[in-house]
C-alpha cells in the first residue's frame, strides 16, 4: 500500500547514495547475537569493502518486528545508502520500509522476506521448494522413508520457516506416504526453549523416527539434547545448521547430514544486490541482471527474487571444508 503520499516529497535530493562508491549499507538482521547473521554480516562486510562502500549492522536484541521497526526508522533518518533486512514479520515492518523507499533508499530483504510490495529485491538463500525438498529428502533417507517425524521450528510467526513447513508437509504427503508428520513445535530460536522442546517432543512421541529442524539454533540445540540422551543414533536429526555448530554432532554420530546455504555468501550477495539497486543497475524487475563480485552474475526472478543457489548438504565427508 502507499503511505498517504504526504511525505513523498521530503526525500527528494537525498537519494544520492547511488553508485558503488561510498554507499552506506545498513544490515538489519532479525536479531543480534545470532550466529547465522554474524556469518551474513561477514559476507556483507567483505562485499562492501570490495565495492568501496561502508557497512553497518544494527538491530534489536529480540527478534520482534516492533523493535526492528525502530532500527529501520533510524536508518531512514540517517538516509542510509541502502537497507538489507531480514524480516521478523512480512507485514509489520512494511510501512517502515516504505518510508525508507519514499526517500529513495533501496531496500533488499534477505533470508526472510516481507510482502513483495515493501522491498525492491529479495535475496533468497535458495528457493523455498528447494529447501523444503532438501530437508525432506535428507530425513527420508535417514529413516528409511517410513515412520514418524516432527519439526522443531523457530518462532511460530517466522515467515520463511512457516513457508518451508507448508511445503514440506505437501512434499511428504505427495511423495512419502509412509512418513507421518506428528508434531510441529517452536523453539523461538532460543537455545533453552529449543532444547526443552526437543526433550518434550521425544517424550510425547515415543515412536519418533526423525526430527527436522529448519533453523540453525533449533538444530544445534536438538543435536545437543540428542547427543546426551538415550535416543542418540536412534532418532534421526536433520535440517538447516551451520557447520561450526554441528561439527561435533556429525563427529559423534548424533547427526548424519544436514543442509544449509552459505550465509556468508547470502550476505555478500545481498550487499551486491543493494549496491546494484543504489547504482540504478537494476530496479528489481524480472530479468534484471547484476554481477555479485566473486559469485558471478545473478538474474532477478519473478516477484523480484534473487536466488543464491541450491543448499549445500554437509556430512562427515565435507564438513571440515567449511568454517562458518
Amino acid at each position: 500500500g502507499s503511505d498517504g503520499g504526504s511525505d513523498s516529497g521530503s526525500g527528494s535530493g537525498s537519494g544520492d547514495g547511488g553508485g558503488g562508491e561510498d554507499l552506506a549499507i545498513t544490515f538489519i538482521p532479525k536479531n543480534l547475537g545470532n550466529p547465522y547473521f554474524d556469518a551474513s554480516q561477514v559476507g556483507g562486510e567483505s562485499a562492501a569493502e570490495e565495492f568501496g562502500g561502508t557497512f553497518e549492522q544494527v538491530g534489536p536484541t529480540e527478534a520482534t518486528p516492533d523493535s526492528q521497526v525502530s532500527f529501520i526508522n533510524t536508518a531512514t533518518q540517517q538516509q542510509a545508502g541502502a537497507l538489507v533486512v531480514s524480516a521478523n514479520d512480512p507485514e509489520a515492518i512494511g510501512s517502515a520500509l516504505e518510508q525508507a523507499r519514499d526517500i529513495d533508499i533501496p531496500v533488499v530483504t534477505m533470508d526472510s522476506d516481507t510482502n513483495p510490495e515493501y522491498r525492491d529485491v529479495f535475496v533468497a538463500q535458495a528457493d523455498a521448494e528447494g529447501i523444503a525438498q532438501a530437508q525432506v529428502d535428507l530425513v527420508a533417507e535417514q529413516i528409511g522413508d517410513e515412520g514418524e517425524v516432527a519439526i522443531l521450528s523457530a518462532a511460530a510467526n517466522a515467515t520463511n520457516q512457516n513457508e518451508w513447513i507448508e511445503l514440506m508437509e505437501a512434499e511428504l504427503e505427495e511423495n512419502h506416504p509412509d512418513i507421518e508428520l506428528v508434531d510441529v513445535v517452536y523453539g523461538d530460536d532460543d537455545d533453552q526453549k529449543s532444547f526443552d522442546e526437543t526433550a518434550a517432543l521425544l517424550q510425547s512421541n515415543p515412536d519418533l523416527a526423525g526430527i527436522i529442524s529448519p533453523t540453525t539454533v533449533g538444530i544445534a540445540a536438538a543435536a545437543r539434547y540428542l547427543s546426551t540422551s538415550e535416543f542418540q543414533g536412534e532418532v534421526a536429526l536433520t535440517g538447516l545448521g551451520t557447520p561450526n555448530q554441528m561439527r561435533e554432532y556429525i563427529e559423534d554420530g548424533t547427526v548424519e547430514a544436514f543442509a544449509l546455504w552459505n550465509p556468508e555468501e547470502l550476505g555478500y550477495l545481498s550487499a551486491y544486490a543493494a549496491s546494484a539497486l543504489a547504482a540504478g543497475d537494476i530496479s528489481g524487475e524480472e530479468g534484471d541482471t547484476f554481477t555479485a563480485g566473486d559469485l558471478g552474475e545473478y538474474t532477478v526472478g519473478a516477484d523480484g527474487v534473487v536466488v543464491l543457489g541450491e543448499p549445500t548438504v554437509f556430512d562427515e565427508s565435507n564438513i571440515d571444508d567449511f568454517d562458518f
Binding site: 500500500g1 525502530s70 533510524t74 533518518q77 507485514e91
Partner: protein, 363 residues
C-alpha cells in the same frame, strides 16, 4: 463564647481571624523545585545536546518516528500513573496490548466490521483491567503478584488464540490513518489524540475529586477510607482505565505495524513503568504528576532515538534506561542522606527510615 461555627461569618472573638498563604514558597520556587521541572529540564538538555551533536537528529523525521514510537508507551503511562499513585502496580499492560491486538485481528478475520472489532478489543482490554482490579480490591491480593500472574495469562491467551499465524491484511485506510501526517509536514496526526489523552488524564489526576482520592489513597489508604474515599472503587477504576487504554494501544499497535500477533509489545510493561518512575511518580504511591510522566516518556524516547541515530546498539539504550531509572529513585535518597550528613547529629536507623518508625506514642 457563643460563636457560630457553622455560619460563614468570622469568629466573634476580639482578635482578627488568622490568614494563610496558599504556599510557603514563592511561585517560582514551587515551579522549579519539582521533580517534573527536573525531568523536563533534563529532557530539554538531552534534546539540545542531541540536536547539536547527533547527526540527523534535527530532522523532521525524528519527530515523526519519535511520536509513533512513544505513542503506546505514553498512552499506557497515563493510566499507569493513576495506578502507581494509589500505591499499586500493573505489570500486565503489555500482555493486554498483545491480547487485544490478537482479538482485534481474530474478530476482523472472522468478518466483524473493523470499527466494531476495535471497540470490542478495547472493551476486552477494560475487562482484563477489571480482572486485575477485582483481584486486587475484592480479594485484597498484592497487585505485584496478581499482575505477574495475569502478565503470563493474558500473553498466553494472545499466543494461544493465534498460534502460528499473524493477521496482516488490514485495510489501508485504517493503517494509513495511524501513520498519517498533517499535509506536507512530518507531524503525525496522532499527536492530536495523544495530546487530548495527556490533557484528559492531567485533568483527571490533578483537577478532579477522583484524582484527589487517588493521591489520598496512595499516601494513606486508611485515612482516605475514613474521609469518604471509596478506596476499592477508585483503585478498581484505575485498573480498568489502564486495561482500557492498553486496549487502545493494542489497536494502535496492530494498525501501526499492520500485524496482529501474539508477541506484540513484548517487554513494553517495563518501558512504561520505567518512564512513569523516571517522570517522578513514587512507587510508594501518593506522589507524581502528569507533566513529569510526559517528560519521562519523551526522555526515554529521545534518548533511544538519539542513541540509535548515533549508531549505538539496543544494548547501550538499555543500559542508559536502567541507569536513569536507578538514579531517578536513588537521587532523592542520596540528597536526603547528604542533607542529613550536614546536620550535627546523625540519626539512628529508625529515624532515617520514616516508614519504619512506628506511629508516635499516645495512642
Amino acid at each position: 463564647m457563643s460563636t457560630t461555627l457553622s455560619g460563614p461569618s468570622t469568629d466573634g472573638s476580639a482578635t482578627a481571624p488568622r490568614t494563610y498563604a496558599d504556599s510557603a514558597r514563592s511561585p517560582i520556587a514551587r515551579l522549579l523545585g519539582t521533580r517534573d521541572a527536573a525531568v523536563l529540564g533534563l529532557l530539554l538538555a538531552v534534546v539540545v545536546y542531541a540536536v547539536a551533536v547527533v547527526p540527523n537528529f534535527d530532522s523532521e523525521l525524528t519527530v515523526y518516528f519519535l511520536v509513533l514510537d512513544v505513542a503506546p508507551i505514553l498512552l499506557i503511562a497515563l493510566p499507569m500513573t493513576l495506578v502507581i499513585v494509589t500505591g499499586e502496580i500493573d505489570l500486565s499492560v503489555a500482555s493486554i496490548v498483545a491480547v487485544t491486538s490478537v482479538l482485534f485481528g481474530v474478530l476482523t478475520r472472522e468478518g466483524a466490521p473493523i470499527a466494531l472489532a476495535a471497540v470490542l478489543a478495547v472493551l476486552a482490554g477494560a475487562l482484563a483491567g477489571a480482572v486485575n482490579g477485582l483481584l486486587v480490591t475484592r480479594l485484597g491480593l498484592p497487585s505485584l503478584a496478581v499482575t505477574i500472574g495475569t502478565l503470563a495469562l493474558y500473553r498466553g491467551i494472545a499466543v494461544g488464540l493465534l498460534g502460528t499465524t499473524a493477521i496482516t491484511d488490514w485495510p489501508e485506510t485504517w493503517t494509513d490513518a495511524v501513520t498519517a501526517t498533517f499535509g506536507e509536514t512530518q507531524i503525525p496526526v496522532i499527536v492530536v489524540p495523544l495530546a487530548l489523552a495527556v490533557v484528559a488524564f492531567g485533568l483527571l489526576l490533578h483537577f478532579t475529586s477522583f484524582g484527589r482520592g487517588l493521591f489520598a489513597i496512595g499516601l494513606s489508604s486508611e485515612s482516605a477510607r475514613f474521609s469518604g474515599v471509596d478506596v476499592e472503587r477508585t483503585k478498581l477504576l484505575a485498573f480498568v482505565l489502564t486495561g482500557l487504554v492498553s486496549g487502545v494501544a493494542g489497536v494502535y499497535f496492530t494498525l501501526r505495524y499492520g500485524s496482529s500477533r501474539g508477541d506484540n509489545a513484548t517487554g513494553l510493561e517495563l518501558q512504561v513503568i520505567a518512564a512513569v518512575l523516571l517522570g517522578g511518580v513514587s512507587i510508594f504511591g501518593g506522589r507524581g504528576a502528569i507533566p513529569g510522566v510526559l517528560g519521562g516518556v519523551l526522555l526515554i524516547g529521545v534518548i533511544g532515538s538519539a542513541l540509535r541515530l548515533d549508531g549505538q546498539s539496543a544494548n547501550v539504550i538499555q543500559i542508559v534506561t536502567g541507569v536513569l531509572l536507578v538514579l531517578s529513585v536513588v537521587s532523592a535518597a542520596l540528597l536526603g542522606w547528604l542533607s542529613r550528613r550536614v546536620r550535627r547529629r546523625p540519626p539512628t536507623a529508625a529515624e532515617a527510615a520514616p516508614p519504619a518508625v512506628p506511629t508516635a506514642g499516645g495512642m
